[in-house]
Symmetry: C2
Subunit: 189 residues, 2 copies
Amino acid sequence: MSSSADLRRIALAEFSRAGYSATSLQRIAELAGLSKSSVLYHYASKEALLEAAIGPAIDRLEGLVDGLLERGLEALDRRAFIVDFVDFLLEHRNELHIFINQGRALVDVPVVRRANRLVARLAEFFGEAASVQDSMRFGMALAGSAYMLTVAETFDEVAATRTVLQPDETRDALVAIMTELLVPASVPR
Amino acid sequence: MSSSADLRRIALAEFSRAGYSATSLQRIAELAGLSKSSVLYHYASKEALLEAAIGPAIDRLEGLVDGLLERGLEALDRRAFIVDFVDFLLEHRNELHIFINQGRALVDVPVVRRANRLVARLAEFFGEAASVQDSMRFGMALAGSAYMLTVAETFDEVAATRTVLQPDETRDALVAIMTELLVPASVPR
DNA sequence: ATGATGCCTGACCGATCGGTCAGCCCTGAC
DNA sequence: GTCAGGGCTGACCGATCGGTCAGGCATCAT
């Protein structure tokens, strides 16, 4: 029941859903059942709250990228990587959506710049051996996942007849699609 | 040199890049070399400016969707559709990025609700004959394209060594990737 | 009892937000 | 000449923004 952790979770969800600049500290405070002053007691500024909300996920992504670049593209077991990567995306979908789709608006926030650079390094990594098309494949897989894992929640409200995706079903579908995008046809699936 | 059209173009670019709520009328006015009052002379409100900026693209998308649903999935020449669709995405990348990635934040704007419903109809259309996986394929193709066509501009600044994509190269790559995502393997490519 | 500390609050600040309004300037019709 | 209307403007409005500050209220060690 830590207020600090509550605020971090609430801010993460709201920054992802409504956007960073469209989310006021007042609103976060109301959702947490606190006053705006309390929010600023736990976090020195709105930007500090953003850093706390998405920082851990970006740290984890950084470790993942460093591991990849150390070992190189040839040594990569692409299918094993995709399973791990999809689990990362599922767990940090809100953070992903923030730095992917608000990345341009938040370039002056250090943690977002760091995230952008990581994505660029990943895209280069997947594209280095072949054409830029492979970089695009990775970018589309990443941004497509971010969209499906967050915006899609709203979809079921819009398209009310649609069956709600089960978590496992989402995971399996994501693994299958990303395999098509990132594993060359020459590698057996 | 219509001020009205200038404002529409500038607003479209800024709403896409920085986000709707992060873009002030004051900023749009400065970029257009006008006063804020002039912006509100041409468009009754900020929301009206958004409608004018993305409305035409959504009208065109609506026509495209209506045509698809009339003819049905069986009669669809998927490869021809993809080429047309990619050209639509290329031309309206900023509008796309707005209603795809700010769609949740702007649900109370009528034109955005309309766009969301169109996307949901398209996803259902592609998923009806098979599993929800095909809906996800379409959603990822759409959102992935929106990302690569807009955010990717910033990428070349981040990853300065990367070769800038040529327009034709972008188009060809997008067609190739979307074909992989949306054309079943049973159909010859 | 007293003081220190952690958590929280309302009052308040200057800046900026979207939007209103009265009026200026120019051009073209009469 | 004058009137109408389109394009544009600065002054101004209430509301909300992120952020500061002094202080209230528990809990706990001394």
